[in-house]
Symmetry: C2
Subunit: 334 residues, 2 copies
Amino acid sequence: VSLYGGVSGANRRLVEACLGGDRYALARLITVVEDCDPDAEGILDHVFPRAGGALRVGVTGPPGAGKSTLVAGMVRGLRAEGRRVGVVAVDPSSPFSRGALLGDRIRLKDLAGDPDLFVRSMATRGSLGGLARTTREVCDLLDAFGLGTILVETVGVGQSELDVASAADSVVVVLVPESGDEVQAMKAGLMEIGDVFVVNKADRPGADRIVAYLREVIDAHPARDGWRPPVVAAVAQEGAGVAEALEALVRHRAHLAAADRLAARRRAVVRRDVEERVLRILGERRFGDAAVARRIAEGVDRILRREESPYRLAREVADGIESPRGERTEAHPR
Amino acid sequence: VSLYGGVSGANRRLVEACLGGDRYALARLITVVEDCDPDAEGILDHVFPRAGGALRVGVTGPPGAGKSTLVAGMVRGLRAEGRRVGVVAVDPSSPFSRGALLGDRIRLKDLAGDPDLFVRSMATRGSLGGLARTTREVCDLLDAFGLGTILVETVGVGQSELDVASAADSVVVVLVPESGDEVQAMKAGLMEIGDVFVVNKADRPGADRIVAYLREVIDAHPARDGWRPPVVAAVAQEGAGVAEALEALVRHRAHLAAADRLAARRRAVVRRDVEERVLRILGERRFGDAAVARRIAEGVDRILRREESPYRLAREVADGIESPRGERTEAHPR
């Protein structure tokens, strides 16, 4: 049975319109996906074969680093080359998230009304795990719509904002001269995720120092997959360094294209995504089951009275859920 | 069968020593738990009934906000009252994480050698989800050891650092006068998790403005569970504001004690924890199964060729894993 089989006629018409180039249909489908509508999965399954052509670029960094200004500059550069661009803002403070394209921010105003640019901000309520998953789904929609480059802007250089970014093919980490503490705190994490580093607002004092420090940290780490992340100094507000950042991304893309690295990278992302979805489906089904829910609720009460531990309860519930052939699983005695 | 049944003799002796007050045994048990040793679960199950008495306080904020200095000040205050204190540093940039108590940081040096203070830093490699879980487990060990107050220091005001903090009974969010952008970006998130706000380094310009702004944001939000988070201005380096922060925590604890709010809060945390553990156990068992692993690996290859979607593969794998009575589950047609 096709997952698309149960999708309503109205949503099917939206899908056809979207794949035919209707951006309003795309916008409405994104809302369907964001709202976890029962039709969402069928829609995504149906459009999936049309996706995969886009390069997905994550742009992350601390609040105030000027990520949106950099993204706006990158959009202008990509548009000047004739590329169709999608922007997904997972950053609630991003001007992209505040209807900026309707005109409330001068610096993005010139981007409004471009038919080959599609901008969407994501609602950031709810767990970040769910947000990362939904962001990947929205990227599939933009990709199937035919946008060749998708920029995903996320806030934070915390471990889990990185989850959002790490699903991208290339990740740009944006810092500012004042980010010494961040680099200090996240050293290993930054090296794990950054493919290109941009030190923005590089006209401020300390810029040279942080550029040098980043290069030092990069040189001290083993090159990941043969790639040493370049460090670009930029003043995105004035357009300086934006072309260099794009150029670094082109080089990274060429690097990924060689030796099947892109496929290897996407394989790891897809595997994690599938495993996460399987567990979520099992969780939804099982924790939605009245008997299991009651068992957990009663167990939690016993845990609060310290009569049981979460360790034991979890194992008991898992054992009860399992045993696919009706027999109790004894594979994990412990 | 008790989970403790399979625990090795050596680890059982460590547990007895730990519950008898031996801090070296405690340190070694934490390592066992951090390493995901097969004995870990049995150990945790065994010590769990002894835990639950400690107040767990999360301290979070951006890099450079001075969290460790504040935590050190709070430790001094709590120790002066005769309380036994545990500190868990989940922040790789924390001086607590760098052997500071062995003497490399003057400001923490006076805390070294105190038999009623136990400090531990967590390895932050690996996923944050796992880290949050392990942190809760380590807190159970410290709690069972008899430390009455446990301070958990985490870096970041990103959504998922918050996961680490949100398992705490009370959460202190530390900001600095320069954190305007952070407050802007995380407004809703901060209100969801902060029980006490500390504006540290309040001798810097802009401190009054951010204190006023935070109060405004707090007043604009509905009080969560009847509590309006106080905002404390501090210069932790000089000890200023630390007593006020502790006092705010005492008031929050009293607030939690009334109307069973602490139990309600812990109930939600425990339920999430148990559900997460159940899914992890199912995942470990199932994804470890050779047939399932092969099915996923083949499916991922088809996905990369766009012949299948992750949406469909996940559902098929979940269906294959399920059907506890040998019949295919048809409960989710879609």
